[in-house]
Amino acid sequence: MRLIGAELRCVRGGREIFAGLDFELRAGEGLLVTGPNGAGKSSLLRLVAGLLRPASGRVALEGAGPDRATPELAHYLGHLDPLKPSLTVAENLGFWTAFLGGGTGGTAHALATAGLAELKALPAAYLSAGQRRRLSIARLLAVKRPLWLLDEPTSTLDVAGQASFAALMRAHLADGGLILAATHVPLGLDGARELCLGPPSTPLEGRGGG
């Protein structure tokens, strides 16, 4: 299985974000998308997830079988954690597991792995930002999908959480999965290639500078 992006061009709000972008990702490989703010990292992930349409070019997951579209084989971990505050931790995860088509057996194990086993009866409204992110990560574990699209996955995690998420990502890659991650910080994926987008960053100008 491999993910291919060919001649991708992305236009948003009449402004070209990137053009002529090629990349290839094979099973067991991680690709880190880096670049300054506004370079199109999140847009690239949303293109692959099918949430944006490319102005030209194509994205395809090859070797996945004829009747499965790329979005159905991908987990998208965006900036937002899709949780309902009035539902408990277990109900939130249970819903996404059922909706995304996973078996119900994996949710308890996924919660335990994400470090939320003790909080499963707590309404999600009371979770901290890091705990909300852990609950989103539990979704990746509860439903098996080969392609993980991660947008700044560790931004709210504590040090221990970052380390255990890095271990989860390595396990996913060892299992033949693919990871496309937009990030500013090292994710702990050794041997992952890097795709640098966009122009060099303009530094924030200080007062009286320039």
Partner: protein, 222 residues
């Protein structure tokens, strides 16, 4: 199918939990209907004559009140992204969301109508008839509102735009809903004709609403 069922259960749960807003619509309905006699005055004959119209207007405004959350809540917390990526057909997904929305906001209005009719000098039988027309008509309000909710999410503009988009579409529903109620109460026009048109409007919106809303959401991905 399991995905669709899970979505229905989740939406119903969210709506009935604290802060879900399932009862807010009924309370708003109650307030609007209670205010009317204060505004119109204690003329019992007049209240009885315009009672069905007041109930219908109150139900229309109350159902509009909750429409804002129908898709916007899922958009704001990122759920809509995952729903769009899912295998379940988008038309079916928005249909189920609208059904859950009607069950938790439309159906309580229908059940409250005979009770509130007493405040407008409508007897139990008359209140029951108005409730029957609401039962036939409020699904149309929800499914027409679904189109507006999808457009509001796509255009990233909230509440007020939704009301302006949806209210003109609901005019035929209001006309035939009130006409059917009045026909049954004061006559002499037959009840069947406007009631059939009302049912037809609901069935049409049931088909059009999900397709239009899904198309709007897909278009929003561009």
């Amino acid at each position: 199918m399991a995905a669709i069922l899970a979505l229905l259960v989740r939406d119903l749960r969210v709506a009935v939990r604290l802060g879900g807003g399932a009862l807010t619509g009924v309370l708003f309905f109650l307030i609007v209907v209670t205010l009317m006699p204060f505004a119109v005055g204690p003329d019992l004959a007049l209240l009885r004559r315009i009672g069905p119209a007041i109930l219908w207007l109150g139900a229309l405004l109350a159902s509009l009140l909750a429409l804002d959350r129908l898709l916007a809540a899922d958009y704001e917390d990122g759920s809509l992204d995952l729903i769009l990526m899912g295998r379940a057909p988008l038309e079916l997904v928005v249909l189920v969301k609208a059904v859950a929305h009607w069950l938790t906001t439309g159906l309580p209005l229908v059940l409250a109508a005979p009770l509130l009719g007493l405040l407008l000098n409508l007897d139990a039988a008359t209140g029951g008839i108005v409730a029957l027309t609401l039962l036939a008509g409020t699904p149309a309000l929800t499914f027409l509102g679904l189109i507006g909710a999808a457009l509001a999410v796509t255009l990233r503009r909230g509440g007020l735009l939704l009301a302006v988009l949806v209210l003109p579409l609901t005019v035929p529903v209001l006309i035939f809903g009130v006409a059917a109620s009045n026909a049954a109460i004061v006559g002499p026009a037959p009840f069947g004709a406007p009631f059939s048109v009302l049912c037809a409007l609901t069935l049409m919106s049931l088909v059009l609403g999900p397709f239009a809303a899904a198309a709007a959401l897909r278009h929003g991905a561009e």
